[in-house]
Amino acid sequence: MTKSGLPISRRTVLRGAGAALGLPWLEAMAPRPALAASTEARLPVRMAVLYMPNGVHPEMWTPQGEGRDFPLSPTLEPLGDLKNELLVLTNLWNQGSKGGEGHYVKIAGFLTCTTVTKTMGVDIHCNGISMDQVAAQGVGKQTPLPSLELAIAPVSTGVDKNVGYTRVYGGHIAWNGPTPLAREINPRLVFERLFRSSRPQADSAKQDKLLLDRVLEDARQLRKRLGASDRRRVDEYLSVVRSLEQRMERAGRPEQASWKPRQPIDPETQPPGIPTGHTEHVRLMLDMIALAFRTDTTRIATFMFGNEVSNQNFSFLEGVKGGHHNISHHERKEDMMRQYQLINRWHIEQYAYLLGKLRQSQEGDGSVLDNSMVLFGAGIRDGNRHDPHNLPILLAGRGGGRLAAGQHLAYSPDTPLANLYVSMLEAFGTPVDRFADSTGRLPGVLG
């Protein structure tokens, strides 16, 4: 597959045929050689990942029935009017996160499908690059921000001496090297960042570049003096400063960037800082993803509802009393499982909220959702058992017509989750031959 991605499917075209036949992005239907030339004219595909800690109530998650004709399960009910945009994927597992312990290994390896190194910090290593960052390496240069990493809670305090892991692992799903990508939790700061990046100022970018050249020189001098292990840190510094410098360079030459904002960001829509309510906070962060996608400030976003082992108090939900992690250890007690399911369902409501927002944003003859793929998932299935078999995984949006949304696909037990990532990367236009323990594409996902 070429980097320019798959031609959009016939179905998508038919769906939108009424109004939009003349639009330039329909060139995507052309044979591949022509396609490469017209990349910029096509509407971009976006990818978001929403990570939920602590697993799901196993019996309330999986829908009865397969294929296109399936009733939504009780937990998935909030997705009612989005069912045709949805893929429910059953029996995927993450082999890399099998061992280790109950949580940290599961979350840190969720998008890498690798086994992270057990450590309190000294040799922190995820042993792979996360799927979203593979995508960002492919198309990140086409937007002001290569990717957006968001969360609700700051990374947890301390190390977990009981199990021997630094809690850094429990707070990150996006990795583009041995160490993770830092994430933001304050909606106002995210907004300011989106706003600024979307309005590159050639002048200040040029000066910033001068400044960064200066400090890069400092780093190179420093590097020469240091021993091998410290050089690794300085190399990290060099690489992050260079990446910023390259962004400035691109920003300094807007005419050369393929990116053209479809809608400018309105400074009046700046959100407040972190609100007190959990739901409000989550929605503001999801708003930022929707905003970034709508304005094409980035095409890739990851979001964590909570750090792994989060004990977020969900008593604000009617009928729930207590913290998330505690309730997830339900011991199969009826009342606990009921509360657990309500918490799961709340997460699905937020997912539906984001999907709804993306669907409201018109783009071409469809919506941003039509050009997105939004993954929702957890690193374990049943919180009471900590197992990475049959993970709760949803994928929504049509990925620019490349995803065969509207199905419940049940695979044979222990089909690699990595196969889904192979398919997603292909649909995204950044195909890979293999991803971690993948054995091929996930059948039925691509339209």
Binding site: T119, M120, G121, V122, I124, P146, P154, V155, S156, T157, G158, K161, N162, V163, G164, T166, R167, V168, G171, N176, P180, A182, R183, E184, N186, L189, D208, L210, L211, L212, R214, D218, A219, L222, L226, G227, S229, R233, V234, Y237, V240, V241, S243, L244, G306, N307, N311, N313, S315, K321, G322, G323, N326, H329, H330, E331, K333, D335, M336, N384
Partner: protein, 638 residues
Amino acid sequence: MNRRDSSRSLVVLALLAFEPRALAAAEDSFTFYHARALVKTYCLECHQGKSAPAKLDLARFSTEATIAGQPKIWNRVMARVRDGEMPPQGKPAPAAKERQSFASWIDRTLRSAACADGISPGPAPLRRLNRSQYAATIRDLLNIHFNAGHALPADGAGGEGFDNAAETLFLSPLHAEKYLDAARQALDYGAKDPRSRARFLVGEPDATTEPDQAARKVLEAFLPRAFRRPAKPEEVERYLGLFRSAQARAETFDGSILFALQAVLVSPNFLFRVEEPNLEAGPRRLGGYELATRLSYFLWGSMPDQPLVDLAAQDKLGQPEILSEQIVRMLKDPRALEFAEQFVEQWLNTRELGRDIKPDPKLFPEYYDAEVQSAIRYEPILFFQEILAQNHSLLNLLDSKFTILTNKLGRHYGLQLIGLRQQPARADLPEGSHRGGLLGMTAVLAVSSYPHRTSPVLRGKWVLEAILGTPPPPPPPNVPELNEEHAAAPKTLRDRLLEHRRNPVCASCHNRIDPIGFGLQNFDVLGRWRTEDARQPIDSKGELPDGTMFEGPEQLKAVLLARKGLFIRNLTTKMLGYALGRGLTMEDHCTVDRIVDQLDMGDYRAHTLIREMVLSVPFRYLAGTSAGLPVEKREAPR
């Protein structure tokens, strides 16, 4: 595991947790021959020969010396056996008691081998300023009262559990962008404030001073402070280049100099604490500026001040008596609050209060009064700072006759004290206050509770981890974590926990977790005293596995004071990890041993702890290329 076995293993676990001396006696009976027999019985089936899994051929280790000579391998063996990861599931495995004895034997063997040759400094990795250090440093550098680090991402923790550990202070592209913005904001803010301007814009062009000269003056003063060492002339020259380039595009003087200073604040020489690498084989003493920097980031979480820099320049700071004087001065300085806050909140995990752990607002609206919340949060921090500043005994942390109160917190505790104000201040506790020490503080009691109710399990676990430094191992695989929630049967929490402990696998740990927590049941989620819960009288009796009985927090505190050795060792270990900004190595535990000895002899005074830490080999020396070479005896500080 049969009943008999498990009950015996309980006794040993109990000893492990509470009686180091008895433990030593019990363990002396476990020797190399026992270890070898265990390895033969449970490990060699797989771990033998060239094709052994993980390339780990355990048959090679035929003597105690060969084991002591491979600490890396054997530390791993120890951890995997101790945590129940090896032997793998489904294979015959030693009983919990044997596991523990085996692990302790390896630990003892490796440690005594490591300490026998004297103390080596251990690694000194390059440390990035973390978020709070960044903010404090900018504050002192520019003399501004503005949190320049507010937009930086939070740092995760490594090593002994602190976010100043070099290993987890990674950088991602977001950092680069944030540093650039933060520096610009802070400098703009500072340039507008006359007091701050005077601190860092020490030159301005006028009738007799060319802009270039003024800029040079500013940079010559600023660079050494920002880089925490004298600046080389060529460094000044290079940053002057940035100033000139800004002048060339017709920027104002302010605009141009702030541009150059912004670059200084994004330079790795500012963002990292750089120590000159030691290319000799053996350890080298830190230079004066390096030591001043380590000291100030330890005790202030910020850059060295002028007196420290002056002593460094005169090469006097390394002298033990001068160091001791400086430590006392620094602990009394308001900047020590930063140390107290960073260390205490991460050591006790109270930083999570208000983050992941929030008392339920419907059940505990009292917590959501801003003044109460702040008083709760700062009580352990200011208490610790007071102990440091006044050189009190560290045992005050276990029990004390004073605490730090505001009028609202005093009322919250139901204390009839006069003279309490809105500002927190030291207050002597009346008889029968149930307060005193960390265990009487709301921050601690709330962070070890669920949002809606207290949990003896969480509080017991908290005490084992934070106070005694003996965290229980993770629950064995496939045993769901204990859930204390109400089931259909109307039983008390104590009954349910007792039932759970009938399972020997659970009992092996919960026999030492739960009783401690019950001792604190008189405190509700917000740490208020209660005598009944849900119309049931509180039963705060506990019995430890070794038969020690107690009732209520006062007696529990006495029990903990009787185990002060574990507490002091744990506190020392944590603080050394914080002081060094990295995880501790095997050799560092030799340093911990020495410091604990000094504390035992010195009445557990706070200054002894800090002084011994600062005078220790890993704090004052850099390892050479042959890491592990000890500091020569004649050079050793004592």
